[in-house]
Symmetry: C2
Subunit: 471 residues, 2 copies
């Protein structure tokens, strides 16, 4: 009401006002943006359902890798959870996904000269293949980069190539350090295979020093030759590099045995799960919120990305429970196959291109269910992060959301950006994220209920503000 | 060098410059602020010693309450840890501190009509006194506020008064919710004693729902009558309120037995521990960083405030290791007796008043060793938080420090503000903080090494920037 008061003041007291005051009461009692954002947070924090949903999803369907029964179960569970909220529409989008299986447990041993066998905790990488049934055994060549492997060339033939450039502990942001190291895992095995290597070991992608191996995908583009490839724990990598150093200093060669039963199967059917609340004013324009249903086979997938799934569902619940009727269509998209193919994202974006449907905003939550501290935003029309900060930083400040950075949302929504869609991603950027990323330890107990619910509230608030004020 | 470059540009090319260029080379190769801040972070994250120091402090000296041998041991440990860094000066400041002891374990039981005894997990509050040796037993009167207790007046005589207003789960910021509820613990027992109550039970100050009781101080000002007063877990409070509701609905009275052995002893000697690196240009002007050595008797005191102690020590180590010579005197102050008296802070501030020594900045870290997200800042000369944000938000952005809020530093440095000192506090504001605050679970395993070291780096960076650029 400040502008109305200003009008009265400008007219002066005693002036007989002709404006029909009866036209104003609705506006006079309309809640402020501050009040609505406060309602969203209070509901999420005091009565949020995301945490109990996560317990169900992760408890009942751990290891939701593409092609697995667990992922199929999670699809059905998510559909039911969304229907229960009574949105206008819930549907599946069919997607064929890669199907890779680990098979029986893999193992890696460092072989001592006296016949000792020291186990190196290991996990086969997605996309890699099995060793011969009895395993394979070879000398180890350690390299720190793809360039070094390329330079060693024929020296790698018949060897086990060990990519051991650490995810730099001196880099503050985990994601930055990950991006600076992950080429060894994603592209190292294909390169080593081309150079005739027998197998690849990769130092796990984490800044932690422990005995937990971190799996992840490796890419063998097109018809590239596939070889066994495994991640070993960072402490195992330290042990192995010590053995390589001893060999270089004149000791016996560092020799390792590897057993892996991994195999690539034909593509399998899966589904994106989608729910909508139809927009009251602009039903043809979509605001998307989403995460991904799949996880690595050995991981409960609590932070990656059960958290994103249940937060996205919670956004819909918050709108329904609080009676917030979106002007634009609010769509929750739970993507399949983020981890090893992005086929869910590709199928969704293809459908958007075909339909020509306009998206106002696409927000992803795939950085873990930790304490949220901000958003990354990207747009082809100017700097969305700066616009959001200018409009809403005061509104978000009481809730610990202070960082509005430039970005591309996340893996599933990033490719909407070239279509002119403003994209965003929730950014907890927790130093704890890469401790358990793609491991058996990405479990329910690592998620804090209030942190998870703060994230859901932040997403709902950003979406409500964009829906009512534009961005 | 921007101003020097500007001078050259203004003079134009070809002008024979009379300024002796030989005076400039050091400045020309001086690292940028970005580079120095990056060095600080990389050193803290890759080689930080705070985490191992915390393991030692918390492992060897848990339960560092004022008057305890553990606090005396921590004082000696801290002095040794600081001396090892080779600062210009390490000294103790003598302080007499309150001495309260819990004695043998307390207990609270809800008494059923059929003789059942249901244990309610409880911890006596600091400053409270013992029950009679055999305990006491009385009916329970539940209230939600000091005002309600005052209004019930004589009805409380002989009763056990139960303060049960929850720390509101709908409030996002834990500190805000704490401040809105903690009057029940800090002032409820003295009020109830004045009204003739036999004892007080207080719902634990946490937004978690579990069976962990949270202790803390309660105040009996001057000669006020002291009574037994205990915190019970939030689940125990839920059980007790159900019993009170049943009694109100016509059931048997809610009756409770309490045993406490707490006692107040004469004040005991303790010490602030102080170390300094003398300023190269302004040795008489001080930049302070500090936390508090004491903790609650039942708590390992990892987040509260072992984290602040080891982060403050780490700031000195970072300056020494990186060869950063502060222009102003950098002083690390490890305060005693924050928890139940603030006598360490009072003694320090009295010494500042007596000496007339000027402080440029006083930074406290007493909000836990979690992922740091910003600072609170306060100044009597304008808005320090806005000045810091304007100058340094871009510099801090890569490290997740995005919130510069108005505040008063913390309990130990806040009272320097009226003396004209700019104060600041590191603000992780983690939703996990109040889960374990003042409990047996405030243990080493709750602290993440990278989060702890990010905090130390943030403190060192703020101090280095203030030292070199002013604030």
């Amino acid at each position: 009401m400040p502008s109305f008061r200003f009008l009265l003041a400008a007219l002066g007291t005693g002036f007989c006002l002709a404006v029909p005051l009866s036209a104003q009461p609705a506006a006079a009692s309309a809640p402020t943006p501050e009040a609505t954002v406060a309602r969203i947070y209070a509901e999420a924090l005091a009565h949020g359902e995301a945490y109990e949903n996560l317990r169900a999803l992760v408890g009942r369907f751990p290891g939701r890798l593409s092609g697995s029964p667990a992922l199929a179960g999670a699809v059905t569970w998510a559909e039911t959870a969304l229907r229960r909220l009574g949105p206008d529409r819930v549907f599946r989008q069919d997607v064929m996904v890669p199907h890779w299986e680990r098979g029986a447990p893999e193992s890696v041993h460092l072989l001592g000269p006296g016949g000792q066998r020291v186990a190196l905790p290991a996990l086969a990488l997605g996309g890699s293949v099995a060793t011969p049934a009895g395993g394979l055994e070879a000398d180890v060549v350690e390299v720190k980069s793809l360039a070094e492997a390329e330079a060693r060339g024929a020296q790698l033939a018949g060897k086990i190539v060990f990519f051991n450039r650490p995810m730099d502990p001196g880099i503050a942001n985990g994601g930055t350090a990950y991006v600076a190291a992950v080429d060894q895992r994603s592209r190292g095995p294909a390169l080593a295979a081309r150079l005739g290597a027998a197998a690849v070991l990769v130092r796990s992608m984490t800044q932690a020093r422990d005995d937990l191996p971190h799996t992840g995908n490796t890419s063998f583009p097109g018809d590239a030759k596939r070889i066994p490839a495994l991640a070993i724990s960072t402490l195992a990598a330290d042990r192995l590099t010590a053995a390589v150093a001893a060999a270089t200093a004149g000791g016996p060669p560092a020799r390792v045995s590897v057993i892996s039963h991994a195999r690539v199967l034909p593509d399998a059917p899966s589904h994106n799960v989608i729910a909508e609340i139809k927009g009251t004013e602009f039903p043809d324009r979509v605001i998307l919120v989403g995460g991904h249903l799949d996880s690595w086979d050995i991981a409960p997938g609590a932070h990656d990305n059960g958290a994103g799934v249940v937060q996205s569902i919670e956004v819909l619940r918050l709108f329904r429970t609080l009676g917030l009727k979106p002007r634009h269509t609010l769509r929750c998209v739970l993507f399949t196959n983020e981890e090893n193919g992005l086929r869910g994202s590709t199928a969704y974006i293809d459908s958007v291109k075909r339909s020509g449907q306009r998206h106002l905003l696409a927000v992803e939550t795939d950085n873990g269910g930790f304490q949220p501290t901000g958003f990354n935003l990207g747009s082809t029309q100017g700097d969305a992060h700066a616009r959001a900060a200018a409009k809403w930083s005061q509104l978000f400040a009481p809730y610990g959301i202070a960082a509005f950075r430039k970005g591309t949302g996340g893996a599933d929504v990033g490719n909407l950006l070239p279509l002119g869609v403003t994209v965003a991603g929730l950014t907890p950027d927790s130093p704890r994220y890469f401790d358990t990323h793609h491991t058996t330890a990405d479990s329910f107990d690592k998620v804090h209920p209030r942190e998870l619910h703060l994230g859901a509230a932040a997403l709902a608030a950003l979406i409500w503000l964009t829906d009512t004020q534009g961005l």
